[in-house]
């Protein structure tokens, strides 16, 4: 390992996914590949989808052009021509057209036009057992498949399953050897490492990293499954690290140099929504895992000054404080790609859906913040969501989407009392939730036809033992999800109705409905009164907090632990990601004084600038809800002014905020440190701030690339910061 080479080559490495010199072998270029694929489809017409898929994968891996990066120490490139992404989309379309035409139309209208609710299929949120991959290797995985397949009395289904598993992993071996051959003249060590991982389990940390990379890029870029977590990276790599240092195979510095290439690869690839991995927390036996690798990864990552992959820091009561403070220092320095998650709640919430404790302890946050058991659960944490605030609009209109005039909710009739209003809101929420869940269940019945996944399935023990694809319910836990978002906007609106109409008697409910329909036109004074009301979520206000609690319990009743369509249950989430903007545009004015089209409240945050009593009061409010009833997760974003966290004192205070949030039962917390004036300057002179990064929701973005509206939301939040 040549130290320092990374820095020298960094600029060139950054372009590796943009300028690729494909090596065409045996005349199979992109066109020929597509032709070959079409022929394959014809030849295999009527065959099981799993087999077609495996064969497609095999075709690409064994024939398609590959590329090597001479400046890199890891190889991964293969021209997939998006064949498999398209294949899945075609198959999904086929299912929709054949069985679910009306239902699909309803869902896409409910989301795209009304911003109300949405149920969708989800093949993008997985937590593959990367540990199995590293510890037994590709050959080990194949052996396990073979062993299970050698049982007597297999069904046809099982035979097909095992056959497709064998095909995909053998194809990977062929591909890896192709890479090894190609790189051999330039980098013998890399070539050797590749040959080793094709022929057995990785023998050292370098081979382990190479295998993770090959696996990830094949699964995500070629096979088209969003991997959405590499798992617990410190747990994965530490045994190799320890062994290699002990045996003298590599020095600490060499491992660090490898890590630079490794982490930087995901950054350069611009993986959609940023690929996460987890560090810290307890293992299945309850022991804290934080190790030398955890520190080294954070250190290297921060020095690289990159923002993807993103890192989830699992925090148990045993996670070393100095490790947490090291991460806080990175956040303070401007790296906002870290999210802290609370082991206590993560584990408790998974146990609520019947996951055994030892499994629950080995969860990883997948995607943005969603806990799912590593390599044991197929979490499907992206099945769509419900816009809670829309319920108020639907009560006002008696079930009509105001913007389009089309019917979307149910008729809840005339409202005579506050109690009747609350009932009506709940009925609308319940209706939207049921519609979304209904579709999810139905489409899940066809997952096998849309996305059989032999790669993923062979990494799940249970699936291999049973001979059943993970998307057919083969994993030990097969769960689904639904996001419930804009709780603060909903609560503020309900409180406003109570205060203005039913308690304050300032106007009748009908009058308020009219005003809402007219988007507060000529009612600025009343609108300001509504905004000024103290009953706002996020201020430790009793009425607002009670409402939030009541609604959250209600959501849990509607969704938590209800059966899904593939043998598991639903896991609700309390976060919005960027739906608060999309759905906000499609949600008309609300009684809290919000104007039509303005963003809805984000994640667990208060409505924009409505947390008037600072972070501690906000946390007081937020933690009155039972976060453990939301096993797809929940997150609170906080914005701190740089001066608030300066010095050792400031860091200690930062730590204190997170510790208190967790002690009070919060699950995930994400901190941004910046001041409003910097953001304003960046808005005005974007060219000078091209590097300023903010965490949008579950992923990072350059501030200057956000829409004006999103930028304004960030500025408002920062102006409110302590």
């Amino acid at each position: 390992m040549k130290l320092g080479a990374f820095e020298t080559n960094r600029k060139e490495l950054e372009k590796q996914f943009e300028q690729i010199n494909w090596i065409v072998q045996d005349g199979v270029d992109e066109t020929a590949l597509i032709t070959a694929y079409e022929k394959l489809l014809q030849d295999m017409a009527g065959k099981p989808k799993a087999l077609i898929k495996a064969k497609t994968f095999e075709l690409i891996l064994t024939k398609a052009p590959i590329a090597i990066d001479k400046k890199d120490i890891f190889q991964d490139k293969l021209l997939g021509a998006k064949i498999m992404q398209k294949q899945r989309a075609d198959w999904e379309k086929e299912v929709q057209d054949t069985y679910l035409q009306e239902e699909y139309k309803e869902q896409s209208e409910a989301w795209n036009e009304f911003g109300a609710y949405q149920g969708i299929s989800d093949f993008g949120h997985t937590s593959p057992n990367s540990r199995l991959l590293l510890y037994v290797g590709i050959t080990g995985i194949i052996e396990r498949v073979e062993k299970a397949a050698s049982r007597e009395k297999l069904t046809d289904n099982q035979r097909v399953f095992y056959e497709s598993c064998r095909i995909v992993w053998s194809a990977m071996q062929v591909f890896i050897v192709r890479l090894a051959d190609a790189i051999e003249p330039y980098n013998l060590k890399n070539s050797r490492a590749l040959r080793n991982i094709a022929a057995g389990a990785p023998g050292n940390i370098y081979e382990a990293m190479q295998l993770l990379i090959v696996y990830f890029f094949l699964h995500e870029y070629i096979a088209g499954t969003r991997v959405r977590t590499l798992g617990r990276l410190d747990v994965l790599l530490y045994p190799f690290y320890k062994e290699d240092i002990k045996s003298g195979t590599f020095t600490h510095e060499e491992v660090k140099e490898m890590l630079r290439y490794f982490l930087h690869k995901f950054w350069t690839a611009k993986v959609d929504y940023d690929l996460p991995f987890a560090l810290g927390g307890i293992d299945a036996d309850g022991n804290e895992v934080t190790n030398d690798m955890s520190y080294l990864i954070v250190e290297t990552y921060n020095e690289l000054n990159i923002h993807s992959p993103k890192i989830h820091i699992r925090v148990s009561d045993k996670t070393p404080k100095d490790f947490q403070k090291m991460v806080l220092r990175c956040i303070r320095g401007g790296n906002s790609s870290f999210v802290f998650v609370n082991d206590d709640i993560g584990i408790k919430t998974l146990m609520r859906v019947g996951i055994e404790e030892k499994d629950a302890r080995d969860y990883v946050p997948i995607g943005c913040y969603e806990p799912a058991v590593w390599g044991v659960e197929v979490g499907c944490t992206g099945n769509g969501g419900v816009n809670l605030t829309k319920a108020v609009e639907l009560v006002v209109t008696n079930g009509i989407d105001l913007r389009t005039g089309k019917s979307v909710g149910i008729e809840t009739g005339k409202i005579e009392s506050y109690e009747a209003f609350v009932e009506a809101v709940k009925k609308q929420i319940s209706y939207m939730t049921e519609r979304a869940m209904d579709y999810i269940r139905k489409i899940e019945g066809y997952y096998k036809e849309i996305n059989p996944d032999p790669i993923l399935s062979s990494m799940y023990d249970h699936s291999v033992e049973e001979g059943v694809d993970v998307y057919e319910g083969g994993a030990k836990y097969n769960n689904s999800s639904l996001y419930f978002y804009s709780i603060a906007s909903l609560v503020d609106s309900m409180a406003a109705v109570k205060r203005l109409v039913f308690d304050g008697k300032m106007l009748s409910f009908e009058e308020l409905c009219q005003i809402i329909k007219n988007n507060w036109k000529d009612q600025e004074k009343l609108r300001l009164i509504a905004r000024k009301l103290p009953e706002k979520y996020g201020n430790n206000n009793e009425l607002a907090d009670e409402l939030a609690k009541d609604i959250s319990e209600f959501i849990a009743e509607l969704n938590l632990n209800h059966p899904n369509g593939r043998g598991g249950v639903f896991k609700p989430a309390l976060f919005s990601i960027d739906f608060c903007f999309f759905a906000g545009k499609r949600t008309m004015a609300t009684p809290d004084g919000r104007l039509a089209g303005e963003p809805l409240s984000k994640n667990l945050c208060a409505s924009t600038a409505m947390d008037r009593n600072g972070i501690t009061a906000l946390i007081n409010s937020v933690t009155k809800m039972d976060h453990s009833k939301f096993p797809t997760g929940s997150v609170l974003d906080i914005v701190l002014h740089p001066s608030a966290v300066s010095g050792e004192d400031g860091l200690e205070a930062f730590y204190g905020i997170i510790r208190t949030y967790f002690n009070r039962g919060g699950f995930a917390m994400h901190g941004n440190v910046f001041d409003a004036s910097t953001l304003k300057k960046a808005q005005e002179n974007p060219e000078q701030y091209t590097n300023l990064q903010v965490r949008v929701c579950g992923w990072n973005a350059y501030f200057v690339n956000l829409s004006k509206e999103e930028q304004d939301a960030f500025i408002a939040q920062a102006e409110n910061a302590v």
């Binding site: 004074k525 300001l528 009593n613 501690t616 007081n620 004192d649 204190g656 208190t660 009070r664």
Partner: protein, 292 residues
């Protein structure tokens, strides 16, 4: 039950002692520093702050004010400060959030629930409650009662004082105070008078006294160019003779507070010049050199 005039309660205060704290600002100060950036806490009487540019002319205040301090003239809102009795009714209804009342009367029993809300934040960050101002010790009996109650609840307490108070006041709060945050503005008496309107004799004596009593002290030195900037070495020498100073903080003067003076109808006394970063670094270094 005794009450105190409270300017404001700031939760999640980070710079008023260690950890996360809630700071209670008392109304009224025994000094009048030219650079004061909390003008709302100088006077002892209740004051209404009116930020003209926030006023939207809604006229809600006119409806509730019994002394006729708010009027709408030619469609514009005008505030007649001299008529205001500080009842606070208009603040509640002001739709532009232009009005804010400083100096609400509060009892210990009203403050405590608010201060207890963040108790676990204090515990998790090594923080607590800070009494500040103004000069909180001008209402020493109230402070004593409040501090006692805080200690009954095992909350860490800090008293932020300018030191220009009676020995008696200090004695009263001492048993319930974990740390004093003590301002030192000048060593030379004439400089001190120029800056604050008062001699610093009592202040330095009180500081020595607290030190002798063995209480922890965090020293804060506002650094204001052309005012006390010449004093720094003397201050440092004086401080190095004390035994229980746990920290010395140099607070660079800033002049952001101008709009607050305007909103309160007070004469703006703020110096214009703000210190350079290098100068502050130098001062901090000096403090370290003398072992502080």
């Amino acid at each position: 039950m005794i009450k105190a005039r409270i300017v404001d309660i700031k939760r999640m205060a980070i710079h008023d002692g260690d950890g996360i704290r809630t700071t209670v600002f008392f109304k009224g100060c025994s000094l009048k520093c030219v650079w004061c950036h909390n003008p709302e806490s100088i006077g002892f009487k209740t004051q209404l702050s009116y930020i003209k540019k926030k006023c939207i002319g809604c006229g809600e205040c006119v409806k509730v004010c019994e002394s006729g301090a708010h009027i709408i003239e030619n469609g514009n809102h005008v505030f007649h400060r001299e008529k205001c009795t500080g009842c606070g009714k208009c603040e509640e209804v002001c739709l532009g959030e232009a009005l804010k009342l400083y100096g609400k009367e509060m009892a210990v029993s009203e403050l405590m629930p608010i201060l207890l809300e963040d108790k676990d934040f204090y515990e998790n960050s090594g923080g607590g409650v800070t009494l500040s101002g103004g000069e909180c010790l001008m209402q020493a009996d109230f402070c004593t009662e409040l501090l006692k109650e805080l200690k009954n609840n095992q909350i860490h307490t800090a008293v932020d004082t300018c030191g220009f108070v009676s020995r008696e006041a200090i004695d009263k709060v001492m048993p319930y105070t974990d740390i004093f945050l003590y301002d030192v503005k000048a060593f030379d008496e004439t400089v001190h008078i120029k800056c604050t309107g008062q001699s610093n004799k009592i202040i330095l004596e009180n500081l020595r006294y607290i030190d002798r009593c063995g209480k922890k002290i965090e020293i804060r030195i506002p650094y204001v160019p052309d005012y006390n900037s010449v004093e720094i070495e003397e201050i440092a020498r004086f401080l190095s003779g004390l035994k229980n100073v746990t920290k010395v903080k140099v607070l660079p003067y800033h002049n952001y507070a101008g709009s607050k003076y305007e909103a309160l109808g007070m004469e703006n006394t703020l110096p214009e010049k703000i210190p350079d970063k290098e100068v502050i670094d130098k001062v901090e270094k000096l403090m370290r050199v003398v072992g502080l």
